[in-house]
Symmetry: C2
Subunit: 209 residues, 2 copies
DNA sequence: ATACCGTTTAACCATTTGGTTAACAAATAT
DNA sequence: ATATTTGTTAACCAAATGGTTAAACGGTAT
């Protein structure tokens, strides 16, 4: 045995290649031969390390999801003050999505195509499900102290994620409709790291009447 | 000849079936046999009416895109007052996306998978590209009159679409993470028809200081 | 009646694709 | 040294898939 750890070097190479191909082409669009080529190995090796396309896909999907959700968890569960938390979330999700827009597109598309059972199976077990209660508690505190007006934690998160992620995953349409160059688009998204949290905080902060 | 109009009944049936299958499974996931079965006809008929899978897909993709973009256009180019326009946009896009969440997921996914040339080709010709200038002009007016603070039309639209569409296309994740039943989720999205425009208008309205 | 033309089908074909097998190579253990 | 296990490959296979063909069907005109 060359490698005592769970994953050999080859296995890692396969996983990287599979991730790239699956994210770009989706489960059905990706061919095992594509992945083998991308990894620079024989197709049969894919089946040696991962039994089937399904198993390989599941692994890639799990990992991709974990990247996005674990970050959410991390920030949600931190003991940052609420407004800071909001700013961090926006910054993290814009940065992360800009660097890898394939991931949310991939997740949304695949979750949509696959049966409920598949999703439940994938999303359970690993620390993917965020500890949502902590945010709810924190918001309740802030409401009680009179700093913010009553809001649902769900809405707050929907707003943050929608504002940060959507324009990036819909980038081709946005650019086409609004005639934006890559440079302009990037600048706008960079601005939004500030404007989105400002807007969100303003929408929940109690105004002095 | 049984039918003088451009599209025979069978052709329409095929198109409907293809739309359902393509939206649900994506270009690669959809099989010609699936579509034939769904339409209740022989596979060869698909090729009789539409030369190839590619051609059939292109047609479906064009139509699906048109549904979403033509509505945007319609509202943008109306002579509604700005705040009303915002409310209309939110209502229209939440309603439309709730009724057919597959469409934006489908568009985003396919646009992402296909080459730039494909997109440009698809999006040009038919009235898909929204007349964006009219909104920009309207906003400029409102800024000059001092009713709203300076904002970019691009950001405004990104905000509206992100807030309205994203939570719905990411529904399975949202529901899973936040433990929301279908009923709760629907109620929240229905509320958002009001809360989103309120939030957006509030964010651009000039406050009396 | 029958020739004609658009529509529809069953059967077929070539290629692609996920997966297997058997043999070969390279470590590792005895 | 040599048997054994692990990693890797080329060749192969069966099923699925997009697409074609030739024949049949059903009106319509002659």
């Amino acid at each position: 045995m060359v490698n005592t750890s769970a994953t050999s070097e080859t296995e890692a190479r396969i996983l990287e290649a599979a991730t790239r191909i699956f994210r770009a082409k989706g489960r059905d669009g990706a061919k095992m031969q594509d992945i083998a080529d991308e990894a620079g190995i024989n197709k049969a090796l894919l089946h040696y390390y991962f039994r089937s396309k399904d198993k390989l896909f599941e692994q890639v999907f799990r990992d991709s999801s974990a990247i996005f959700f674990s970050r959410l968890n991390e920030i949600l569960q931190s003991d940052l003050e609420l407004f800071t938390k909001i700013r961090r979330l926006c910054d993290a999700y814009i940065t992360m999505t800009m660097e890898n827009p394939f991931i949310p597109i991939f997740i949304i598309g695949e979750v949509n195509r696959n049966a409920e059972s598949f999703i439940t199976n994938i999303f359970s077990g690993n620390g993917i499900k965020p500890e949502f209660k902590s945010l709810e508690k924190q918001i309740a505190e802030e409401i009680r102290s009179g700093r913010i007006r009553p809001v649902r934690a769900e809405e707050l998160l929907m707003n943050i994620l929608g504002l940060c992620i959507f324009p990036i995953i819909a980038k081709p349409m946005m650019q086409h409709n609004m005639s934006l160059s890559d440079k302009e688009f990037n600048r706008i998204m960079d601005d939004r790291k500030k404007t989105i949290p400002a807007m969100i905080i303003d929408s929940i902060k109690k105004k002095n009447t």
